[in-house]
Amino acid sequence: MYQYNERDRSSLSARSDIFQRQLARHLEGKVSDDDFRPVRLQQGLYIQKHAPMLRIAIPYGMVSANQLRALADVAQRYDKDYCHVTTRQNIQFNWLALNDIPQVLTRLAEADLHSIQTSGNCIRNITSDPFAGVVEDELIDPRPYCELIRQWSLGHPEFAFLPRKFKISMTGSKKDRAIIQAHDIGLRLVFNAQNEIGFQVLVGGGLGRTPVIGTVLSLFIPQVDILDYLTSILRVYNQYGRRDNKYKARIKILVKAIGIDKFKAQVEQELDNVQQYSKPLTPDQIESYAVHFQQPEYDHISEHKLKQFSSALQHKSVEFKNWYQRNTHAHKVSGYRSVTVSLKDHANAPGDIKSHQLQTIADLCEAYSFGVARTTHEQNIVLADVRFDQLDDLWHHLNTLNLASPNIGTINDMICCPGLDFCSLANTQSIPVAKAIQTVFSDMDYVFDIGDLTLNISGCMNACAHHHLANIGILGVDKKGQQFFQISLGGQKGNNTTIGKILGPAFKASEVPVVIEKIIQLYLCRRVDTEAENDNESFIETISRVGIKYFKEGVYGHAH
């Protein structure tokens, strides 16, 4: 992964010094709340319901063992002994004291971590595929380009006061695992006919109260032009994006308002101007990022050993086999698997992780995965490079810590925002609903039978849990001071990103688990089963084939 150099460290230290002075001035009453607000937000510091919340940037999800230990240390010393993985691959602390923020930032900076631009109307931390560099369907490793964009966007003086926040995501694979169609800018690395590397650029995607699927702005931007092209998009947005209404200020609204053709013309005109004065990127510069993401020194595993492992697998415990099936994934190098550490244990809120678990994951990624882990937008952690014959040991360690629930990709692997329990924007408590659903689906045989299914719960229409893109989406709404939950079906992420359709009138929290159970029963009644259990028609396939009306009638009766 990218290693900070002396310049990176001194820059971070300088930014940290400045913020600490700004915070001190605010605490001394020299700066008003209004004037301090953009400053603290650009530092990832929110004033939340109970305590300040600090969001730490995990650039495109890559996090080292040393950094995991620093996060664990902060959780232990300054928070309630846990932290939270967010749906943009970041880490949040929810219970810090304002007076401790300087020490927290200093401790994090020791591990090259910071909270800059994790909030505010600026370019946010770039996200990417958690399986970057190891997955079989990858064309081009996105991480060097993510790092390039991270450095370009960090402290960008022109784009720190945009009309609204700005999120970029990138994939380098055939299959999108970075939700590029639901970002302000989505980037897909591609080869052109001459076998040159470049980007397909999507613009104007996003969720929130106005969910929009991104539109292709360009089919191919050469890699050396990507920063100029991003500058052009951002400059058009900065000048023409709406500033009179924060709910209409995202770039998706601008693109919709003027149309993609006019927007594209403006970007291209701006690009001509930008390129007259910019320093073009050089292939050497790009290479200087790529050297940080060289393939680790994988062991060669003989065919004989692979066969041995495969036959040994038959004799492993059911628990291990279930975990292997659901929580480990194919790797591009023979003899290796990628492992998802499940943060969806019934005892914790989705995405929460305790400091001792973080400490152990740090040890485990050093022992089994080249000292690096990745956070995922599904709120789990990936150890990407685990040797076949070490999976058993790893599983034992994870299992001891309740981090081996074999539920990845199932209904129990739900994505959930912090909701009203923590967040001052939320209307409803999402976490108790998540727990209630998990309780209904505690029989793992039943969960495995249901198979692949995504279920996301957002506590308000800001849609932090991406509920629009879930097979089953749950949205908390406030109706005259009472919490209700609206259910949508048929959403999906990936190459065919689709926004789910609302099923009907919202339900009380207590009704939600029963309704979800009903929806699952309706699915199981209609799915096309095959002899091989893994090939059964999935939930989303059944919805696509049968249509939402069947589910609507099943849930509400024919009257609706």
Binding site: I18, D35, P157, N238, Q276, Y277
Partner: protein, 120 residues
């Protein structure tokens, strides 16, 4: 080093040639006619008055003055900007800042001299 100027204490030699450009809600650089822009560009000092610190268009406007329009004179900002924005304004091309009475100049200098440069 950018100049820090107290309200009313602007550099006297420039006063006669100073033009105030109000960065208000209706101003976008393409609304400035070619003739007006040429006139602006010929002046030794432009004072850009910021009415709302959240209106980040001013950063692009200043960048454009320095790049596309190749403005070589002094660029000054005054009005309702935040002291915490001055390093970004400077990086976009501002030379001088008009501060209100009682501003914390030491903090301003600290920000200007310590903010790392974005080299892109």
């Amino acid at each position: 080093m950018a100049m820090l100027i107290k309200q009313g204490g602007v550099i006297s030699s420039h006063v006669n040639n100073q033009v105030d450009v109000r960065f208000a809600a209706d101003l976008q650089h393409e609304n400035i006619t070619h003739d007006v822009m040429q006139q602006l560009l010929s002046l030794p000092l432009l004072n850009i008055q910021i009415e709302d610190f959240n209106d980040g268009r001013v950063f692009s406007f200043i960048r454009l003055l320095r790049t596309r329009y190749q403005y070589k004179g002094e660029l000054r900002v005054s009005g309702q900007y935040l002291m915490d924005q001055i390093a970004m304004l400077k990086a976009c091309g501002v030379d001088s800042f008009v501060f209100s009475e009682g501003s914390d100049y030491e903090h301003a200098l600290f920000i200007l001299s310590n903010t790392p440069e974005n080299t892109f």
